[in-house]
Symmetry: C2
Amino acid sequence: MGGYQVDEATAEEIEAERATYGPLAEALRRLNDLSIRTLVGAEQVAEATALLEQAAAVLSAEVDPEPYGVRFSKLVGGGRNWGNSVVGVRNPVAPPLTITHQGGVSSSDFELGAQYEGPPGFVHGGVTALLLDQMLGEAAAATGRPGMTGTLTIRYRKPTPLGRLSAEARVDRVEGIKTYAVGHIAGPDGVCAEAEGVFILPRWARDKDAPRRFE
Amino acid sequence: MGGYQVDEATAEEIEAERATYGPLAEALRRLNDLSIRTLVGAEQVAEATALLEQAAAVLSAEVDPEPYGVRFSKLVGGGRNWGNSVVGVRNPVAPPLTITHQGGVSSSDFELGAQYEGPPGFVHGGVTALLLDQMLGEAAAATGRPGMTGTLTIRYRKPTPLGRLSAEARVDRVEGIKTYAVGHIAGPDGVCAEAEGVFILPRWARDKDAPRRFE
């Protein structure tokens, strides 16, 4: 597995990586949507697919055998989880969400298209769960208590429409190694789904004075 | 929204649609993975991105303004939810899962790559929830009790590794309009996460003898 990697990337190198690979992921997000909604016929689809195979050949010339993982620079603050399924800037499966943290609340505004459909016209209930898991986990981490999800519960109040949406999350309470986070996702007509999650503080983070153990 | 659509597609037309658009989605799944793992430099990435933009131009010539929805043919059994985020054959975001139903158990074997990563080397906890929501929903529908998710609870037993995985789901019990389904996702070392979901029978399905109301 990719694991947590520590490197010495400079701010300039990180921005250069973003500038190189970000537009590639953006082009693929547009294509992921077109794959579902295009009405062109077999001949044009074959032409487009041939172009995609050419692009894949170019990108396949040198490939990391591992997934992206999470990378930290000794020189710049913050981790790069650029392969992450929700926020990864290099992951075309991710919408991606940009999550900000202020005053104890983590929030995000975003748009979901045809790729995220479950019931006709509505966001897949599992996509709602996917996004809320990330939101709640980031809210826990933002208070200095990162963790793996222990339990996640989603209550669906009404169907979430595709389109412009927002999400919020915050820490509700802390009990020992457990951080309880809550949040919701909302559409134009208010809250559509609510979430509660329990995040378990990893062993290496339990005693700040102890030597860091990655278990 | 796309809605539930009824058409008169023949078995041959449905297979032709699958043969045309399925390989397009497959090519994009491969590219979604390469977007994260490619190590080629800026020049090659720009070359690949230009090819993707050409492909997007071809596919954009005629586009459905709506998401795919779920389509039923008067002539052939079964719905086509080909835009679905988990099982959609035209959706490159979907792995996609192929789910079979036998002896009251719904099951699926599948592989998850770098696009589905959360913690380094592991499946995103929210992706686990996404897949289990679909598994449980299909298990409920397979017993003749379709429904929108009311509540979904995931208990994470251990991290789910990327790679070859399997999932199972079944109906646990029925209480009035509520169908309780349970399931799990397992890796090479056993069960990684368990799920329970409540699925609410839609009004149009509550009385088989009543005129069908789509509300």
